[in-house]
């Protein structure tokens, strides 16, 4: 009886200690989300009444489905290429080559810069007379015209990768550094070459880290705003469309419905993604 009372009291104290944090979390996180959801069901400009018209309008509009498809393609493309870039980079950094501290710091650079500034910088860097093109034109004799990167889908993916690969790179690197080297050595002693060790030992073991990083990259890329706004040209993913709907057309309910669809799509995709990739190693 005394033990039960003791546990209850401890539970109460824990709850009391957590309550300011929980209150802050709910008011700052759930309340705005709840407002957005409510607004998405309101007739435009009204404070009362309910409607599904905004959802019906968007989900029935082929143009909206195209925008959703574009948003997914960009996010998936950016995630895949971020993982492909991060893996070799993390493998190199694990060996702590000369200058690795500077390299590690430079990985953080895209995270430290405001995205709008980065977007403008990338736009100038990759413009027809930007440094990248001047360099490529000077070293590749077969290249007669500047490479078109700005305002293209590959260009957008390239910019996303530059901005968001630190998330995959850092988590992959952390997983690699936590890995017990003796496991790899054991595999090598058993006769596996380095490629087989990488494929059959290292990659399966660091998969949770890669997965966590790729989820972060995907989420960042899915919701990216400044970069596609400035560098997307006619390719305008969902975040830019929501911004236009709210700030230009002043249709906040419609914009909220788009935001809810965006969130649902993201959650659904991530749930499937996590389930698929978290299957136990065979």
């Amino acid at each position: 009886m005394n033990g039960l009372w003791q546990r209850r009291r401890e539970g109460l104290i824990t709850l009391l200690l957590l309550s300011p944090g929980l209150a802050g979390f709910f008011s700052l996180f759930f309340y705005p989300m709840l407002l957005t959801v409510i607004l998405s069901f309101r007739p435009e400009g009204q404070k009362v009444g309910w409607t599904l018209a905004h959802y019906a309008r968007f989900l029935g509009d082929p143009a909206f489905r195209d925008v959703l498809g574009l948003t997914f393609s960009l996010a998936v493309g950016a995630t895949v290429f971020s993982v492909l870039l991060s893996l070799p980079l993390a493998l190199v950094l694990r060996e702590k080559p000369k200058g690795n501290r500077l390299l590690r710091l430079s990985i953080l650079l895209p995270m430290m810069m405001p995205h709008l500034i980065s977007a403008l910088g990338l736009l100038l860097f990759w413009s027809k007379r930007g440094w990248a093109n001047l360099f490529l034109l000077s070293i590749l004799p077969f290249l007669k015209e500047p490479v078109a990167v700005n305002y293209t889908i590959p260009g957008l993916i390239l910019f996303y990768v530059w901005l968001f690969y630190p998330y995959t790179c850092l988590t992959t690197l952390a997983s690699l550094e936590a890995l017990d080297r003796s496991i790899e050595e054991a595999a090598e002693v058993a006769g596996a070459n380095r490629l087989r060790v990488l494929w059959h030992v290292v990659l399966p073991l660091i998969r949770p880290g890669v997965l966590a990083g790729s989820v972060l990259t995907f989420m960042m890329a899915f919701g990216a705003f400044s970069v596609p706004l400035v560098t997307g040209g006619n390719y305008r993913p969902l975040s830019v469309q929501i911004f236009t709907q709210a700030t230009l057309y002043l249709e906040w309910s419609a914009a909220s419905a788009m935001a809810v669809v965006m969130a649902m799509a993201q959650v659904t995709f991530l749930t499937v993604y996590m389930r698929v990739l978290r299957r136990p190693i065979a």
């Binding site: 104290i13 413009s127 027809k128 007379r129 706004l229 400035v230 700030t247 057309y249 002043l250």
Partner: protein
């Protein structure tokens, strides 16, 4: 264990006390102990304690680009502090966001004391019933400098009757801008630009109709106007005319087949296209283009000119005071507006930023200014005021589908 219990108890009590303090009403500021009333022969009614005038205001700017944000922060706000002793919290926002916030205000609880708005924003606010103080004529005594504004600007913005709910701070003007290294004989009219379109195929700078910048709508508006669209008619009537069909077809031809592709989403991209040598000619805000040239974000060969049919007004700047702010802030807000409309700031604006003043003080402006920008009297002949918001809304809504490849 006993120590733990005591500690847990103490912690709980502290937490409860701090929670109740945080959730409770804000404690009233300490007041002076009332002095005993002096005996008087006749009882006087108690005089209300005067509320001290606020010395800090929130100024929400939904209009300025990078150049004018710099101007406000480095020139205007220090001058306001020095000359009238006000501290200003300068907040950059958007019209849409400000409107949403204002809709949620209750009387006396508004926290944005002076607004600096684009014509579209003030027109939208008036149309949506968002309450702004009528500065002219109601507050003419508090803001004597508002008399230097021209009445037609106080009456309407984008064809919407705003009825003096904003004081005109500046007049912005779009101009034809071109790279003189690429174009030696610039066109003198919209029609000439269209007729000679093959000369600069793929090099005409344009801005998306759904851009955040008003230029996305102002450029098509000027083009349609030049090709004979009657802007006095309602959008339904105007769309039924032959001129509309003809002008719209030409406009779509220009933007789809002759403009730099993809069309710039925002002015920043237009500047980048100029800088990269892709764009040779366009129409954009004269002050910002010239300022950008001096900053190196536009080519040094950039020049400005005008079209004979006229070029649309830019985002003129209106200063407004919301009705729902606390009453004690209003006289201070009027004082600030009066100061901003004063000759000192207005002259600084045109001499430093090449932006036309909101007040009619042309005789006070140093003559050297007119060596850089055309005198207002000349410029105004070619200035088209946007009077048909229906056309603007149509361009904004339908433009992305009809003018973009």
């Amino acid at each position: 264990m006993r120590v733990y219990r005591v500690l847990a108890l103490l912690l709980s009590v502290t937490l409860l006390v701090s929670l109740s303090a945080a959730c409770g009403p804000t404690p009233a500021p300490p007041t002076a102990t009332p002095k005993p009333a002096l005996p008087t022969a006749t009882a006087l009614p108690p005089t209300p304690t005067p509320v001290p005038a606020p010395t800090r205001l929130t100024f929400v700017d939904t209009n300025s680009g990078a150049n004018f944000q710099w101007f406000f922060k480095t020139i205007v706000l220090p001058a306001v502090k020095k000359d009238i002793g006000l501290d200003i919290d300068y907040v950059v926002s958007s019209g849409a966001e400000t409107m949403q916030r204002m809709k949620a205000w209750t009387p006396g609880k508004g926290d944005a004391h002076v607004l600096f708005l684009k014509p579209k924003d003030i027109a939208d606010m008036v149309q949506q019933g968002i309450k702004l103080e009528t500065l002219s004529p109601d507050k003419a005594k508090d803001i004597p400098n508002i008399a230097k504004n021209r009445q037609d600007y106080l009456d309407t913005a984008q064809g919407v009757k705003i009825g003096g709910k904003g004081a005109l701070f500046w007049r912005s003007q779009y101009a034809m801008i071109y790279n003189s290294a690429k174009i030696t004989k610039p066109p003198k009219s919209w029609k000439e630009m269209y007729e000679r379109r093959n000369e600069w195929k793929g090099h005409i700078g344009w801005i998306r109709p759904d851009s955040k910048s008003g230029s996305g709508r102002a450029l098509p508006y000027g083009f349609l106007n030049a090709f004979g669209v009657d802007m006095t008619k309602t959008i339904t009537d105007v769309m039924a005319t032959k001129e509309w069909t003809d002008a719209w077809t030409k406009l779509a031809d220009l933007t789809k087949n002759y403009a730099v592709q993809p069309i710039a989403p925002e002015p920043t991209n237009l500047f980048e296209q100029f800088k990269a040598g892709d764009a040779w000619i366009s129409v954009y805000a004269m002050d910002f283009s010239l300022w950008s040239r001096s900053q190196g974000t536009m080519p040094p060969e950039l020049k400005a000119g005008f079209f004979t049919e006229g070029i649309t007004e830019g985002s003129d700047g209106y200063l407004s005071v919301p009705v729902d702010i606390p009453e004690e802030y209003k006289p201070v807000a009027y004082r600030l507006i009066n100061y901003l409309l004063g000759d000192d700031i207005q002259i600084k604006m045109i001499t430093i930023m090449w932006q036309y003043t909101g007040t009619e003080i042309w005789d006070k402006i140093p003559k050297e200014v007119w060596d850089v920008i055309p005198p207002w009297s000349e410029m105004e002949k070619g200035r088209i005021r946007i009077t048909n918001k229906g056309v603007i809304d149509y361009i904004q809504k339908e433009g992305p589908k009809r003018l973009i490849k």
